[in-house]
């Protein structure tokens, strides 16, 4: 009987193709939008995560300033290089420590110039940030100690300044400093925040301090914990050490900030996820609107088919059979809308993923849930019209013009 009812409903839908299509358009758009939003959002989140893991999975970032919330800080008692040295000396299971200081500066070669980020650090910087020197060499001990005028440049800087030319051994000018290119970094591509990670010039920390910024401060310390060791423990140890070195009383709050990848990842993916949730919520509203559209058309349909309902009741249809017929019709309609919506969403997601350069991640559960939801919308909004049909008095219904 149920299968017959479904067939009957399909027949009814076929009798009125244009109207049926318009009726389910709201559901199609609702389901389509929700799935597209969630799929693209999921892809973006995955991309952020991938990039974070490419930064090095067991990295800790130690930065000065009081902590206010994820990624925010205020107040500034800067670190010195000695702090970095203390960490590598006194905290266990540390693989590498890189004091990092950066300044924006123009890089000039010949008649080419390019504004880039000049970063002062040591060789451990490459390990900590998961970069490799693709050509040339790293800094030598004596260069680091003496603050020599040497630099290792990122792929973007090389392209902008040298184009097709060989960069190794050439001298570029950073403000008043003229330094020799001794190495080229391997390209890393765009970061999750849309920053070009290859737009960088790395020089020895001491060179930066003495000849570019003129200050002994360092911006932050990046730490890499040994593979397999607990980052939590390292994080706590570093915090304890820093409190000692900064002479904080037990009642004082930290005036520095140690973040691990979990937190950094939370900070970066949080925005993406919030945005996805918001957009999906907006899209879900159109599902509700679609449901109201179905109720509207079903009510019209019941009125139009009053005589038909009368005939059905007269030839022996029971109340619940008429109820079922209209309910099934509404559910079949809305599920059909759901299926079309899912197909459109998958097509749109693949297309948008290509356009926005995020990976396409098929999200099975959301497709399933969206389908169930569309069927439920039909059930909920079809119930009232169906009940109205079932409760009709057959004599009145047969007399209806």
């Amino acid at each position: 009987m149920l299968w017959n009812t479904v067939l009957l409903a399909l027949r009814e839908i076929r009798r009125n193709v244009m109207r049926s299509f318009l009726t389910i358009l709201g559901i199609v758009i609702g389901v389509g939008a929700v799935i597209t939003m969630v799929t693209i959002g999921g892809g973006a989140t995955l991309q952020v995560k991938q990039q974070i893991s490419s930064m090095g999975s067991n990295m800790l970032m130690v930065s000065p300033g009081k902590r206010l919330g994820p990624g925010q800080s205020s107040g500034n008692v800067p670190f010195k290089e000695a702090d970095a040295e203390a960490i590598s000396r006194e905290v266990g299971s540390i693989a590498a420590v890189a004091p990092v200081s950066s300044q924006s500066s123009q890089a000039i070669f010949g008649n080419q110039n390019w504004t880039t980020q000049v970063t002062g650090s040591n060789n451990q910087y490459f390990y900590v940030t998961n970069r490799t020197v693709a050509a040339g060499r790293q800094f030598s001990e004596s260069e680091l100690r003496a603050g020599a005028a040497v630099c290792i440049i990122g792929e973007t800087v090389r392209k902008k300044l040298f184009g097709g030319q060989d960069a190794l051994g050439e001298k570029i000018r950073l403000q008043k400093l003229s330094c020799e290119v001794i190495g080229l970094l391997e390209g890393k591509g765009q970061s999750s925040m849309g920053m070009d990670q290859d737009d960088v010039v790395v020089i020895p920390l001491r060179t930066l301090q003495r000849r570019v910024t003129g200050k002994q401060d360092i911006g932050m310390i990046q730490v890499s914990v040994q593979q397999g060791a607990s980052t939590d423990k390292a994080l706590k140890d570093i915090a304890k050490l820093m409190r000692e070195r900064r002479h904080l009383a037990p009642s004082d709050d930290d005036n520095f900030n140690v973040m691990d990848m979990k937190e950094i990842s939370k900070m970066l993916t949080g925005t993406t996820e919030l945005l996805t949730a918001l957009l999906s919520a907006v899209a879900a509203v159109s599902l509700l609107v679609g449901g109201i559209g179905i109720m509207n058309i079903m009510l019209v349909s019941v009125t139009e088919r009053t005589r038909e309902i009368g005939v059905r009741l007269a030839i022996g249809a029971m109340e619940r059979e008429v109820l079922m017929q209209f309910l099934v019709e509404a559910v079949v309609l809305s599920s059909l809308g759901g299926i079309i919506g899912i197909m459109l969403a998958l097509a749109a997601s693949i297309w948008l993923a290509g356009l926005l350069r995020v990976p396409f991640v098929f999200n099975g559960p959301i497709v399933f849930v969206a389908f169930l939801f569309s069927a439920a919308v039909g059930m909920i909004f079809g119930y009232f019209p169906a009940l109205k049909a079932a409760r009709l008095d057959p004599i009145e219904a047969l007399r209806h013009e």
């Binding site: 009957l8 030839i315 022996g316 249809a317």
Partner: protein, 239 residues
């Protein structure tokens, strides 16, 4: 709830059936004590002017309505005690309806229209098709199965409606002015079909009509006036 036709009890027994519409001072007495007995195999024409109560009587006969007073026994079952669903089942299994306005489903083929009652009986696809084809053949519409009502003439539409009513082999066929919308020639065709169903297949027929020309096809004529039976006599058959 049913007794098989082997018994000699009449198919339909009305005893003192009354029907009152409305409440208080605005009441209308549509039926004022009807006594009527219809045996299996009869062909009864119910006649009377508008407002005489014949339509109300038909609605009660068809279990679409219940009497206010008196009892209506259908095959020894007191219809007045049945629930709405039980009455629906009674209609489904024992009664066939023909209306003045045909009441076919539009944009639905003749075959699908005729299959409809079988659908509610839960018959399989093959059984439905087979029975519906046979019923259409009985009313002389072989070859018209795939036509929709809008592609059929009024007489043909009424014949589809008859096929729909007889496809379940009902105990009684209730026809409410079946020729009311048709010209004389078409009306006669319809009456011939009904007469044949009654005489060849033994289907009991109760038909409302206000055309004496059509009433003569029946074996018995019952006249209504102001909610009462004023005459009830066998027909001499058609001249």
């Amino acid at each position: 709830m049913h007794v098989e036709g082997a018994t000699q009890a009449p198919l339909i027994v009305f005893s003192g059936v009354t029907k009152v519409y409305g409440k208080g001072n605005a009441t209308v007495e549509a039926l004022r004590g009807i006594d009527l007995c219809i045996e299996e195999g009869e062909f009864v024409a119910i006649m009377g002017p508008s407002g005489s109560g014949k339509s109300t009587c038909m609605n009660i006969l068809g279990c679409l309505d219940t009497p206010t007073g008196g009892t209506y026994m259908f095959r020894d079952v007191d219809v007045g005690t049945l629930t709405r669903n039980q009455r629906a089942l009674l209609r489904r299994h024992y009664q066939g309806f023909i209306f003045q306005g045909y009441n076919l489903l539009s944009r639905t083929s003749a075959l699908e229209n005729v299959e409809l009652p079988l659908l509610y009986r839960g018959a399989g696809v093959r059984e439905r098709r087979e029975h519906a084809m046979k019923a259409l053949e009985t009313v002389g519409l072989k070859g018209w199965e795939s036509h929709t009502p809008s592609e059929l003439s009024g007489g043909q539409q009424q014949r589809v409606a008859i096929a729909r009513a007889i496809v379940t082999n009902p105990a009684v066929l209730l026809a409410d002015e079946p020729t009311g919308n048709l010209d004389t020639a078409r009306s006669r065709e319809i009456m011939d079909v009904l007469t044949a169903l009654n005489s060849d297949d033994g289907i009991t027929i109760v038909m409302i009509t206000h055309e004496p020309d059509m009433a003569v096809y029946a074996k018995r004529q019952v006249h209504f006036l102001d909610g009462m039976v004023v005459s009830d006599k066998p027909n001499g058959g058609k001249e």
